[in-house]
Symmetry: C2
Subunit: 154 residues, 2 copies
């Protein structure tokens, strides 16, 4: 298996759980937040979907400026957004070559460091897992108790 396929497998082991949680969020809970200072559910979900997509765009293009680009999106249904952005992100990741993973990215402006694409994409995973952990609390707060494990291997 090449590095892209290995990484996509790792991505989906977590992203599929994210999507499973998103699919539990009814429209009337889009503004739910578990604490007064938390992000509303819909903001947390779009932040997760857009951020990983931007990580993948930067990894593919080598242009860190894309990280700061604002995504204009008219779709507001979270399930549809999850499906569309997971697909777009997966396609970008699949298109990476083994050599791409060793390319260095100058992220001193964003992360204060130079990172290889492999390290940069690990940060994308860390970010996804961090917010997915929070999403579990949100979904519990909405009354759900039948929840998946935090990772689903192949």
């Amino acid at each position: 298996m090449n590095r892209a396929n290995q990484f996509v497998q790792y991505f989906l082991a977590h992203r599929n759980v994210t999507v499973e949680l998103i699919n539990k969020i009814e429209k009337e809970y889009y503004d739910y937040k578990p604490t007064p200072t938390s992000m509303p559910a819909k903001d947390l979900v779009t932040h997760m979907l857009f951020t990983f997509y931007k990580f993948a765009k930067v990894a593919k293009s080598g242009n860190p400026a894309l990280f700061r680009e604002k995504i204009e999106e008219t779709e507001t249904d979270l399930q549809k957004l999850a499906e569309a952005y997971t697909e777009k992100t997966k396609s970008l990741l699949e298109s990476l070559t083994d050599e791409d993973f060793d390319r260095m990215l100058d992220l001193t402006q964003i992360f204060g460091a130079q990172l290889s694409v492999a390290q940069f994409l690990q940060s994308a995973m860390d970010h996804e897992i961090h917010h997915k952990g929070q999403l579990f609390v949100y979904v519990r707060g909405m009354g759900h108790t039948e929840l998946p494990l935090f990772i689903k291997r192949g």
Copy 2:
């Protein structure tokens, strides 16, 4: 930098944030939970600390059975526990050789798969990051608003 030192740096970039959050939890909040079906704060914290320590013990010894061992612990102060288990875990991780990271572990009983020590320790990180994400929500629920970023590099 050898692989152990690289990994310890990655571990601490997240664990130091975990500890910063734990240090915000006053004793009267040890039983706090953000939703009725969530774990109490003290259980979440000890679960995180004990689990990573067990991951490190299995990585070092090559014996997956240690993962199921129950940890007997009389200390109940979460700050002291965090300090002690972070130190014990760090020492174990530092003692790994570059070759140790490529050793295969038979985890079919626990994870349904064979994993290299490197992959196994990545799962330990994923687990830490997942629950740390939840801990952020807990600490917000306790009224804290001055919170660190989810990762602190070097």
